[in-house]
Each structure stands twice: as structure tokens, then as C-alpha cells.
Subunit: 204 residues, 3 copies
Amino acid sequence: MRLTPRNTRFFDLFARAGEQVRDGTRVMTALVTAAPADRPALVARLEELEHAGDASVHAVMSALNTSFITPFDREDIALLASRLDDVLDELEEAAQLTVLYRVGALPEGVLRQAALLERAADLAAPAMTRLASLDGLTDYWVGANEVENEADAVYRTALAALFDTETDAIALLKVKEVLDHLEEAADAFERVANVVQGIAAKES
Amino acid sequence: MRLTPRNTRFFDLFARAGEQVRDGTRVMTALVTAAPADRPALVARLEELEHAGDASVHAVMSALNTSFITPFDREDIALLASRLDDVLDELEEAAQLTVLYRVGALPEGVLRQAALLERAADLAAPAMTRLASLDGLTDYWVGANEVENEADAVYRTALAALFDTETDAIALLKVKEVLDHLEEAADAFERVANVVQGIAAKES
Amino acid sequence: MRLTPRNTRFFDLFARAGEQVRDGTRVMTALVTAAPADRPALVARLEELEHAGDASVHAVMSALNTSFITPFDREDIALLASRLDDVLDELEEAAQLTVLYRVGALPEGVLRQAALLERAADLAAPAMTRLASLDGLTDYWVGANEVENEADAVYRTALAALFDTETDAIALLKVKEVLDHLEEAADAFERVANVVQGIAAKES
């Protein structure tokens, strides 16, 4: 049972989880532009990151169970860890499907989704390092909502283009499932921002 | 920081959110019977209602952060706001897809789903105005469960009919996604009733 | 309002819910190996179990509202009841779709999914009877995670085989939805184990 004034362990764990998520979006961009033959190695890299993400969640949960004092509400800490992990889960799922379904070249819309996920991660990762000071968290939340709105628009455009151009129903199903998981990843980033916003509101 | 005996702000916000949801089901019925060319204007109206719904959730969340005394458990208040919002999210999504996918005439089953969503809203909206008195909330919950069971049956019948009659897989996929979102809206109404039931059980 | 030292009611309810879930996995195995004409009777049996599962959740919720002392955190008790119920919901859904969609013979992968769900239930049901003593719950959690990883692999293999062999998009859609619900049932078993793990961590 540890009883330290600010319990910096949690801040360290969230900073690390933020970096893992950022790395995940980089691998996703590499994957959606790679030749199909190069995808399996990138999927393996995402699987590693996803396992590291699981380990971060478990570390947060055990820290919760052995900490008498926590910097925020226990539920918010558990929720933030689990929401960050959701991002990596969706990225891994999207990546695995490109290999499992032997998808050919991915359409332009998927590349634009991946680019927006990088932007979302570039907002989230530094925000995770500012949880201790609570600095700039409102800016993060506003920026995250803007990126999420843009991601929604990109997803819809990609979906409409897919249904307009793909006449093979099975090929359409495969690409649609990749688009759907990347859209889920964008939603997961928004939920991370909402948890942070809730924490900031309570602390202010 | 406000400290009023009953904190009527929350009751006002839920009454308003109940009306927004009811309006949403009316627009959905208009949309599923409208000619495809008239759908975009109705989608725009649903988007407005969905944004108003988001604003209601945010108003509830800030009221929670600035209220010392709340009429029910804080988690139940947050959950109720978010469950009501889920209904509008699903309605908006279903509506947008009819335009995005350029769906032609919608099958009979979709009209029956929309009619049941109106009935669910006609139970939910007045229940939101009775949260202060807790009057008739058990009747609401029983009625909501009946409507949900009927909605499930209508959804299954619509799904079976679609797979029996539609031989174009891509056309089938489009209509199935609309059916699925309307079924999600019915489930979201049931979850609203479950949160209210939980509140009533604790207070009684 | 009852105030008994250990409040054994909750333990009895969870033991019963564990058995209902185990029965559900048995019916599912019978269903996936049955001739299509024999499926409706097995679907009816799963619907009964699912209703019994709903009754168990309601019994837990009313016990929570009338108990002054509970053996674990109230939220964990409510969550565990609801997670157990999720398993039966997914089994029922998968079963109903085989009839609704008039699916023919199910592929080998579905049989392997059903066998793994039985194994998950054979770990979960006895764990529900050990909640009072907290004995062997870590072993349960480790075992449940192993089964879940195996279930993931089986699901992916089944999905790849389906996309490799089924050229009729509508037939593919039908079987894919059954596979998806059985995978959701496996995920639901994992979430049951995670709730139990959380309870055990707090109590130790």
C-alpha cells in the first residue's frame, strides 16, 4: 500500500499509453500505404503495441488496487486507461482484416482516415503528459472534437465512394469493415477526450 | 455553486431532452414515407435535433459539476442524459444512410419500425416530466418493455422479408443497415426506461 | 430491508445464473450440429434460458435495492449480473438468425466456436459458486483468458475460410452474422472473467 502525495505512477502510465497509441497510428499509416505483401509485418507490429497497451491497462488497474490515494476519481482513471486501449484494439482489428481478407489496394478514403487518426493521436499523446498540471486540457478537448467531426465526414465520403464504385458485394464488404474499424478508432479517440474533459471539469 | 432544495434545473433539462427525442421520431416517420428527393431536408432537421441533444447532455454534465445537491445519484443523472442522446444518434445515423446510400423506396418494415419508435417516445417524453414526482414511472417502464418487444418482432420480420425478397446483395446491405440503426434506436429507448426504473427503485 | 452478515442471496443468484449460461452453451452445440428442421425447438429452449437469465438480473437488481449490506461493491454486483446476461443474449441472437435466415448446414468453424463456448462456461459456472470463498478465482481468470484467445483464433480462421469459399454474398452475410454473434458471446465470457478478477483484486 503506497501513500505518496501525488502518486506520479498514474501520470507515468498514461504518458506511456499515449505514446503507444501514437505509435499505433504511425504503423496504421504505413500499413494502408504498404504493398499487400508488406502488411503482415506491420500487423505484427500493431499486435505488439496492442499487447503493450493491454499491459498498460493492467498496470493502471493494479496501481488502483494498491493505492490509497489517487490523483483523480478511481472510476475516471480506470475509464481513461480502458478508452486509450480501445483505440489500439480498433487499429489492430482493422489491420488484421486487411490481411485476413486479402484486401488489394485500399481506397484513398482509408488513407485520409489514417492521416486523421495520426492528428488525433498528436493531440492525445501530449495531453496525457499534462494530466498532472491540467494545463491545456480544454484546448485538447476542443481540438479532439474538431478532428472527430472531420473524421466523420471523411468516413461518410469514403463510404459513399465505396458504394458508388464497388460492384462486387464481397469486395465491398471487406473494405467496408476496414473503414468501419477506423471510424471506431476515431470515435474511441473522442471518448478519450471526453473522459479527460470530465476529469478537468471536476478538478477545476 | 448552487444549492437549491430540489434543484429543478435537472428536471427542466430532462423534460426538454424528452421533447427533442419525441420530435426526432416524428421527423423519422416523415423521412421514411417521403420521396427520396425530400429526404435531405429531413436529415438536416434530424441533425439539428441531434446537435440540440448534444447540447442537452453537455448542460446536464455542467449542471452536475456545479451542483452540490442533485435530485438522484450523479451517475444515474449522467447515464440518463447519455441514454436519451443515444436515441437521437441512432435516428440521425439511419436517416443519413438513406441519403448517403441513395436508397430507393424503403420497405414496409421500416415504416412499422418508425411507428413503434414514435410510440416509445410518446411513453418516454411524459415520463421525463414526471421524474420530480416519480409518478407513474413503473407504468412507463412496463409500457416501454412492451413496445421494445414489439419492435424486436417487427425488426426480425423486416429482416426475414428483406433476405427473402432482395436478391441484390449491395441493395440488401444498404437497407439492412437502416433497419439495424432503427432497431438500435428501439434498444436505446429500452435502456432509457431501465435507467428510470433504477432511479425509481432507489427512491421508493 | 434485510441485514444478514454475508447476504448469501447474491451468491445463490450468481450460482444459478452461471448454470443458466452453461445450459445455454449446451443448447448452442446441439443447435449447430442439428438438422435445420430441428433448430426451431432449440431456439425456443434458448429463448427460455434467456428469459430466465433476464429474471436473474432483475432478482439481483431488486436484491441490491433492498440490501443494506452487500458482499461486494454494488456496481460490481450489478455489472457481473449484466455481463452474464450478455452471454445468453448473444447465444439467443446467433440461434435465432440461423432460423430467420434459413441458413443451411453451418461450417466447421461454427462448431469449433460452440465447443469453445462450452469450455468458457465450464470455467465460469463453477467460479460463480466460489464467489463467497474467493477460492481459485485467479485460475479462473487465467483459464478464461486462454479460452478467449483460442476463440479469437478460431473466429478469424472461420472468417477467412468463409470469405475464401463462399461466393454468394448473401449466403456469406448470413453465416458471417452467426459467427459474429458467437464471437461476441466469447468476448462476453471474457468480460465476466474481468469483473470477477476486479472483485477478487479488491477483496484480496
